[in-house]
């Protein structure tokens, strides 16, 4: 019998206990990965294609203050700016929903395509969007959720504008960060609104990444002392600013993750102690046969590490497969559209697993090392 098979036999001697321990570690690591992925979503949103060339411009007071439409030609003239579109939040509520379940923005169809080139939609859909004033394009997730297709009409009641608007779906896009939104035309909104010439934000594309800092500075400077001072920033900075409004939610998730890790440590450590206590007599016999203390410790360590690793593999692997290949929008009822398991997340979870295996062997290991042979032989259970 080799040492390896001795350890394996010991670990699996009580199969039920081994299975229960592995499962509880697996459940906890699954939760840990989920919480870390969620936390990452709150603090480091995934990069979007084309983000490095996009600039968001909002009113300096706050995002809810509007901007005058007359700013557009001024921004367009700034060297390095390739395309500009208005981006006005409509806050529409679909049918009998309680609140806004997907975002709607009023835009300039042609520029939208140029700025958000990652949207996948046939050319004729774009043509239809540009040709008809009441046209809109809808993200695939929302289209699937509400069973809408090209040619359908959608009526949305706004929480901001007095008149409900009816849109005709010109196309259904996918490939964006969050395929839920509806985009329609700013001119259609203007026509139905009592306040004309106001937009929510500007989104623009710059020629190259090198132009970015200069363009941002130029925009901020241009409107600095006007009645509508703006804040221009990269898409990334804009996202991060938005995310920081979540406030203490990330702290909360962090605290819960620690509680989960702590619980997990307790459970595994107790299982290991239990397994060793049952075997004190055997350990004493091994000692009497001449096995050194470090060797005994190594047996325990290897067993505990093995159990933790098996649980970790199951939990981390399971969560990775579910979040990478599972239908996340469906599972979370449209609340979250993607859960990205970053390599760092897997790394941290693996480190926790390893630490778990090592730490939970310390207490029983020390007990065995300290015990005298006679004491051990006397032990009953």
């Amino acid at each position: 019998m080799t040492f390896a098979s001795f350890i394996a036999k010991n670990a699996l001697r009580n199969k039920r206990r081994a299975a229960l321990s592995i499962l509880s570690v697996a459940v906890s690591l699954f939760l840990l990965v989920f919480l870390m992925v969620f936390l990452r979503l709150l603090t480091h949103p995934p990069d979007t294609a084309g983000a490095e060339l996009r600039v968001a411009v909002r009113n300096k007071i706050s995002i809810t203050q509007q901007l005058p439409a007359r700013q557009r030609p001024v921004i367009e003239k700034i060297p390095g700016v390739v395309a500009v579109t208005p981006f006005t939040w409509f806050g529409g509520i679909y049918k009998n929903e309680e609140s806004t379940t997907f975002a709607q923005f009023a835009t300039d169809p042609l520029k939208l395509r140029e700025i958000f080139a990652e949207f996948k939609m046939p050319d004729e859909a774009y043509a239809a969007f540009a040709a008809e004033r009441t046209a809109c394009v809808l993200g695939k997730l929302s289209a699937d959720k509400y069973g809408l297709k090209v040619g359908d009409r959608v009526v949305l009641t706004s929480s901001l504008y007095p008149n409900p608007l009816e849109f005709k779906i010109a196309g259904i896009y996918s490939g964006s960060q969050d395929d839920k939104n509806l985009y329609f035309r700013q001119d259609y909104l203007d026509e139905n609104s009592e306040v004309k010439g106001q937009v929510g934000m500007w989104w623009l594309k710059v020629r190259s990444a090198e132009d970015m800092p200069r363009v941002i500075e130029a925009i901020n400077k241009t409107f600095e002392n006007s009645s509508a001072a703006v804040r221009a920033e990269t898409e990334r900075a804009f996202q991060l600013g938005f995310i920081s409004m979540w406030g203490n939610i990330s702290l909360l998730v962090g605290l819960i993750s620690s509680a989960v890790v702590f619980t997990l440590l307790l459970v595994t450590a107790s299982t290991m102690s239990m397994a060793v206590r049952e075997r004190l007599r055997e350990m004493a016999i091994l000692k009497a046969l001449g096995y050194q203390r470090p060797m005994l410790f190594a047996f325990i360590l290897a067993e505990s590490f093995g159990l933790a690793a098996a649980g970790g593999l199951l939990g981390i692997g399971g969560s990775y497969c579910l979040f990478t290949y599972g239908d996340i929008p469906k599972l979370t009822n449209g609340f979250i559209s993607t859960l990205e398991v970053a390599p760092q997340t897997v790394g941290i979870a693996m480190a926790v697993t390893a630490a778990l295996g090592i730490l939970s062997s310390i207490m029983p290991g020390l007990a065995v090392m300290r015990m005298s042979v006679v004491q051990g032989l006397k032990a009953l259970d």
Binding site: S62, S99, M245, A259, V260, V267, M274
Partner: protein, 392 residues
Amino acid sequence: MLLTFKYNLRNVFVRWRATIATTLSVAMVVTVYVLMQAMAGGLVKSSQNTGDPRNVMIVRKGSPAESSSIVTREQFQLIQFLPMIERDEKGQPLISADLVNLINLPRHDGGEANVTLRGVTAQGMTLRPQVKLVSGRWFTPGHREVVVSRKMAERFASCAVGESFKTGLHKLTVVGWFDGSDSAFDSEMWMDADEARSVFDRESFSSFLARVSDPNDVAALRERLDADKRLTLRVDSEVAYYSEQTMTAKPLRYMGVVLATAMSIGAMFAAMNTMYASIAARTREIGTLRVLGFRRRTVLGSFVAEGAMLSLLGGLLGCALALLAQAACLAFGVRFGTMNFNTFSEVVFQFQITLPDLLKGLVFALAVGVIGSLPPAIRAARMPAIQALKAV
């Protein structure tokens, strides 16, 4: 025949080394659950606590919140002298046209958030007596001065009395702090209404708050305003309006249940492990009990009861931990902030543990104990008595 509870209870304590991990893991489940619910409860309370039953909130039809509503000066003229609206001792109607704006401000700890800045009139302050000045002085009408909720001032930069911050082109000076008695106003800053309209270059207002002579007049006022086609206004009692502004709490509650369920499954495996080991170690005892005449179902019931006790102990510990966390937050003045999606602005809240939350937490614990100890208890009950007696 029933086994005494004492037997099981003593077992839980005698084998403390094996039980402590299970107890603590159950305690963690309950703590996480109760605290998540307490956060949701705190969010709800942060706005539900607001309003006077005699006050009515009037916003534009279709606007879910003041911050997205626009009401006009003409509308104000049309409604201010309606008979349902109470007059003060000088004969002036008790109605206030407020302007609510969201301004982006940096937090102390980095990051930023939208803060509700309310332009309020003297009548508006009379209508909200729960807001009391705690430091500095009130703003002077006609000056660019703000009074900040103390709870907000602790979270945001440049909000100490005497400091100032810029919004757009204008500089606003903080001249005082107020306390909103745990109402939604604790998440606001106040300034003079006319001054706010000039700072934000607005002709119109966001909402009207009025006092009716009699709570029954709310319906009468609603009817009167609905009848007038010039006015597309929604009338709500102030209390009802604020109790609707709590959307953010739902995902928190939901997440609390999901997390606690997932953690319970892990804890259940741990409880099973403990009970299996505990029963294996007591094989001879079980044999003795059976020989003494205790029935199989008595043994089963006794071990399930032991598992339940074990986890209830953990549950109670978890509740105690959660209450301790709440007490510590209260003692050190720790408050949390997040975005309310209804108003799109920062809301300050505090843990709010309620008895139902604690009881639900204990139900979680009990479920872990009962389900976790059932398979081991069945095993114990099925043991042949003589064989069990022979076991080492």
